[in-house]
Amino acid sequence: MRLTCTVNGKTEVIDDIWPGESLLYVLRERMGLPGAKNACEQGECGSCSVHIDGVLVCACLVAAGQVEGAQIQTVEGLAGATELHPVQQAYLDAGAVQCGFCTPGLIVATVDLLDKNSDPTDNEIREALAGNLCRCTGYAKILDAVRLAAARLEKTGKA
């Protein structure tokens, strides 16, 4: 099977895809984009979060064939040439990264949240990130990171 789609603004054409492959597998193993992680491959952990046509999804639950012609945005596409995305920077500054396996998924989910809601309450943050498991941090510093990113985006008017 051949798949054509746009990933982080770049058109990708991939041949010889076995139809059972997930978008996650294709990103990680065929496109050299391992940023989306594979902690469960059952839609339970959010570590594989990406955007498809602007919608936040778990890439492990999407069959590769479903993204024909779609625009896909992964964590690899967030940072600028010289600067991290403010959400990425906030995760670093808040100490929200330990092992980092949950981090790409959480960052993608946080970007999604702040796009929709520039000034979320703690409860809104919790609800938005409820599908992203982290085993290391206990989430306190992840909440800090989201608050910090929201405040900085607010200041720069990017939100």
């Binding site: 193993e29 092992c99 992203n132 498991l133 085993r135 510093k141």
Partner: protein, 779 residues
Amino acid sequence: MSNSTLPTKQRDHISTPVSAGLGESVARPDGTLKVTGDFAFSSDLWAEGMLWASTLRSPHPHARIKSINIAPALKINGVSAVLTHDDVPGAKLYGLEIIDQPVLAFDTIRFHGEAIAIVAADHPETAKRAAQAIIVEYEILEPVIDPDFAISGKAPVIHTGGNITRHVPILFGPQDLTADVVVKGEYEVGMQDQAPLGPESGLAIPAEDGGIDLYLSTQWLHVDRGQLATVLGLPPEKVRLTLAGVGGAFGAREDLSMQAHVSLLAMRTGKPVKIVYSREESFFGHVHRHPGKLRYEHGVTKEGKLVYVKATIVLDGGAYASSSPAVCANAACFAVGPYEVESATINSYVAYTNNPPCGAMRGFGAVQTAFAYESQMDKIAEVLGMDPIDLRLKNAMSRNSLMPTGQPIDSAAPVAEILEKLRAMPLPPLTSTTEGFDIIELPGGASNATHGEGVRRGIGYALGVKNVGFSEGFDDYSTAKVSLQIINGEPVVEVHTAAAEVGQGLVTLKGQIARTELGVQRVVVHVSDTQVGSAGSTSASRQSYVTGGAVMTACKAVRDEILLFAMEKLGHLHPHLLHFRATYLLVDGEIRDGNGTLVSSLADLVQDRIFECTREYRHRPTTPIDPITGQGLPHTQFAFAGHRAVVDVDIETGLVKVIEMATVQDVGKALNPQAIEGQIEGGTAQGLGLAILEEIQVVNGKVKNPSFTDYLIPTVLDMPPVRSIILEYADEHAPYGLRGVGEAPTISSTPAIVSAIRAATGLALTRVPVRPEHITSTM
């Protein structure tokens, strides 16, 4: 089917250009790669022409293997190799403390999920299907599932030598004491999983010299190497390991899982082989926290002074020993908790059964006993009509107190202060009284389970204690190689150890130590591998202490060599310095004399030389414990923490919402406060998981919930804010006065939450995790 496209970026050296030294919240040097998605975890690796591995595992907990037919698997297009125990060239058994676990099962299956055969193929799906195509004929046997029965002498024997993997008795003080009040209790702890988010994974590349290069996740490269060399029939120097990015560990990566399998396949096929466990396989592929039954009897005076503690602890070690012997000893040593007692009679057993193997998990034996002794303390307080904090204060250990092993605590033990500080912290308001509260703040959250009618608040306290570092006379050391050279006019320090960074932040600390000791800004932390001596395990909260100590020692050695060189080269300019045997100092990258006068910049002095030193660091030696009395000096350092939990319980649905966790912990010296808070918050979360969510359900030897759908770890909705106070009472025996941080916060979290649920409901609650039906069925 061929794998196409780009090789994954291999992580090379990690460097932080500008940053700070000890005591500051320094950013992780690997942080940028981790937030951009470029950090190469062991599951992200790629090599030209690589194959994928898959494992066939037993569906039965106990069976005899009558035959294995691999022919159907070999026939599948794309399959390169199918291996069984017959293909293991070296030792067919391995193990951390007792060599009892087959690399691939032969003759007997001893637990559900035991590996039988492995496959390499050109696509992970092909490998998986081929593994399923292997035909195994079993003679199904009755599993031994109850550890009490297993050690009763009446059960079938699981390993020659009997079903008692270890028995640790401790007889402390007079053994014939009586007391005014006797309080008994029986407690049970379910099987918890470490559930690190990163699956077991790695890449094995066969080398031209007949050896193998491995890139994988582990907690101790050298102990993996030793076991692998034996299994693969190779000299250790031909087994070269490099640590890939590790997605958390918590004890799950102490034992071999995929390491030998992926190596065998690479050596057989002559090609690189990658393996990545699915979440389900991860649940089968690593050991778990020991479930346990703990029977306690406390004798107390009317005034609340502990007189004696008697405890019989039976841990279920499952099918293979793993680190069970050490866990068993830890359970015994910490059976009383951070309390002084005149007499203790402890019998700790760990049993072989046909349940999943259990071994290391954060807290390592001290978690199970803490649930029991803290439940007992609450029960005693209730019987005596005493405040549970006052009861604990009355018995709290302090410096010079004796552990039940007879070992005196020869550094700070601020147990009373921890309690006082916990008690003094402000309490959160009642949820239903807060302005505009949200339904998700109530038990059951967004599922709309209650509007607050049946909700009761409870507050509970608990303390915990655990050792830091390996125990019982183990030669516990780490190695660091540190070099200094001038690159582009600037001094650059390289730090190289074999210590496993698993997320905790050792990689940051190593740089902080080098900057502090050598006064140099630019530090490159070399990726951890077996090209340098062993660092010991990333477990027992020990790496900051032992590898931190090794880096400190190697840095000091480099500094001494540089200063000696400076004296030789420049000392004649300052004859009086030599005369008084005074020395130069290395300050902020400059050589200065005793008066602080600049002698030379490092760059001018060092020029094109490389100063390099490799040093080992050992903590103070410990001793074995006496096999009859349990007396000895088994530990080098103790970590103390306490928690206060505030919970809301809906007594109609049995749902629990933890509202806040407060915690106080002595860390000796906070070398990176932000990282320490991260350990405390994360450890608290894992304790919360054991209290109310997490249990591997094993029914008749079979694991029922090997997925994140059915095994629930705390989400951001489950985890409340954590209020923490960090105490810094320097341990005079430890580098920089530090005290290991990683495990203590997990220990007291669980009993504090259960205590709070008891306070809310009035129920006894003698088992964790507490399930809604434990609350509703008895209300």
